[in-house]
């Protein structure tokens, strides 16, 4: 945010114009100087009195001239500086909210076009990173068969991320509540923030972000992450529903070749790693679905995560 200076307050905007009118009314009896002594308005004065213009602890400049006039002008500029500071703070908050609304709007729109869980997770992480500071992050999704969390997408210094089976994450999943654990709390070296992916009152995974640079996450960060988590959960639910209708391999991205390579069947171990899901484009995945996939036996298993 740009600093408040006397020069900026005296610019020909509403406040600056009004203040210059006051100076004119004082008949040029006072002069305005910035903190370095540069004359900004009025005429140089045989300074027998100087009144400081303050903003917080900082002195922005000086008004020199007759005592009463200098004090009045100084008080006015001090007031205008405080008001400008409040305006900037408020505008900064409004801009942040605007960015968040825009992010959710864009994320919702993009997620409607992504039918694979890893693709949806990568899209969501890319958006989350725009507004939440981080050095690492990822999305964990609960395996359909064994119920354990596994990474569906990750980025950055992944060593800063907690183990998927850690008590901390298990607790968040169970409670359905996000959490902030900043660096220095307990044995934590990186700040962590995580939020459960909730669908139909159940947690199907978690979005986790970490910062190893000593930053402290805030409640505002958690609120945004919770909102993003809800979007991802809905996208995952849609993926599973799509799989139920059109073949779950299309959603998981696993091909027969993948199954042969890993030794797992096409419905096993849903999230072994993000790279498993990135090799085939969405249309290709759909083309690999067999006609009998439309009977969706695997789809029913997907749907077990979301019982009505």
């Amino acid at each position: 945010m740009a600093e408040i200076t006397l020069k900026s307050l005296l610019r020909p905007k509403a406040d600056g114009v009004a203040f210059r009118s006051v100076l004119d009314a004082l008949g040029g009896a006072v002069a305005v100087e910035d903190a370095s002594g540069q004359l900004l308005a009025g005429s140089p004065q045989e300074s027998y009195f100087r009144s400081a213009v303050r903003h917080g602890d900082a002195v922005l400049g000086w008004i020199s001239g007759p005592k009463e006039a200098a004090e009045a002008a100084g008080a006015l500029l001090t007031h205008l500086a405080a008001r400008e500071s409040e305006r900037k703070a408020l505008a900064g908050e409004v801009l942040q909210l605007y960015r968040e609304v825009r992010l959710i709007d864009q994320l919702s729109e993009e997620l409607t076009a992504v039918l694979q869980v890893p693709g949806a997770c990568e899209t969501a992480l890319a958006h989350a990173r725009r507004l939440i500071p981080d050095s690492a992050g990822g999305i964990l999704v609960r395996s359909r068969q064994v119920g354990e969390l596994a990474w569906a997408a990750q980025f950055g210094e992944v060593s800063q991320l907690p183990e998927p089976q850690s008590e901390r994450l298990a607790g968040a999943m169970e409670r359905g509540l996000g959490e902030i654990v900043n660096a220095g709390e307990g044995t934590n070296t990186a700040s962590l923030i995580f939020a459960p992916l909730r669908a139909k009152q159940r947690s199907v995974g978690l979005i986790v972000m970490a910062d190893g640079a000593g930053l402290s996450y805030t409640a505002a960060n958690l609120k945004l992450l919770n909102t993003i988590a809800l979007q991802i959960a809905a996208a995952i639910k849609n993926s599973y529903l799509c799989a139920a209708n059109g073949g779950d391999r299309a959603v998981s991205g696993r091909t027969d070749d993948d199954s042969a390579r890993t030794g797992n069947g096409p419905h096993d171990s849903a999230f072994d790693g993000a790279e498993d899901f990135s090799a085939v484009s969405a249309p290709d995945r759909f083309r690999t679905a067999r006609a009998d996939d439309f009977g969706a036996p695997g789809g029913r298993r997907f749907l077990q995560l979301f019982p009505d």
Binding site: M1, A2, E3, S8, R11, K13, K88, A91, G92, V94, L95, Y98, R99, V101, R102, D105
Partner: protein
């Protein structure tokens, strides 16, 4: 270097101003206007390098202001970006005819706006 922000919605003026706030530290002056006529007054007096111009405004709309800048005032060096709501893309052609250099849709991307302003001002 000067930038003029023109929008009849006070909150949008504030958002755009805040998006470009950091430029003030680099010596850029931001001016605001709430309608087309006020915008032309500021343009004549301050000759901004960049004008961010809402389309639908009282008194004089963005197309008319843009045409005045380019054709009547002959300020061809002034870079004009028209800002309008999504769904009004049919206005793009009209904006080009009026002499606008670029067209951005609302909700605008604050980062893209800042990047564009920097590019236009060469900073």
């Amino acid at each position: 270097m000067k930038i003029l922000i023109v929008d009849d919605e006070p909150h949008l003026r504030m958002l755009i101003q805040q998006s470009l706030d950091d430029l003030e530290d680099e010596g850029v002056e931001l001016f605001l206007a709430a309608d087309g006529e006020q915008a032309l007054e500021v343009i004549r007096a301050e000759e901004p390098r960049l004008v961010l111009l809402d389309v639908m405004m009282p008194k004089k709309n963005g197309f008319d202001v843009c045409a005045t800048i380019q054709h009547e005032l002959g300020m061809t060096e002034t870079y004009v970006i028209l800002l309008t709501a999504k769904g009004q893309e049919v206005d793009r052609l009209r904006g080009q005819e009026a002499g606008a250099d670029q067209y951005m849709t609302k909700p605008f991307d604050p980062d893209a706006l800042m990047a564009k302003a920097r590019a236009v001002l060469g900073i």
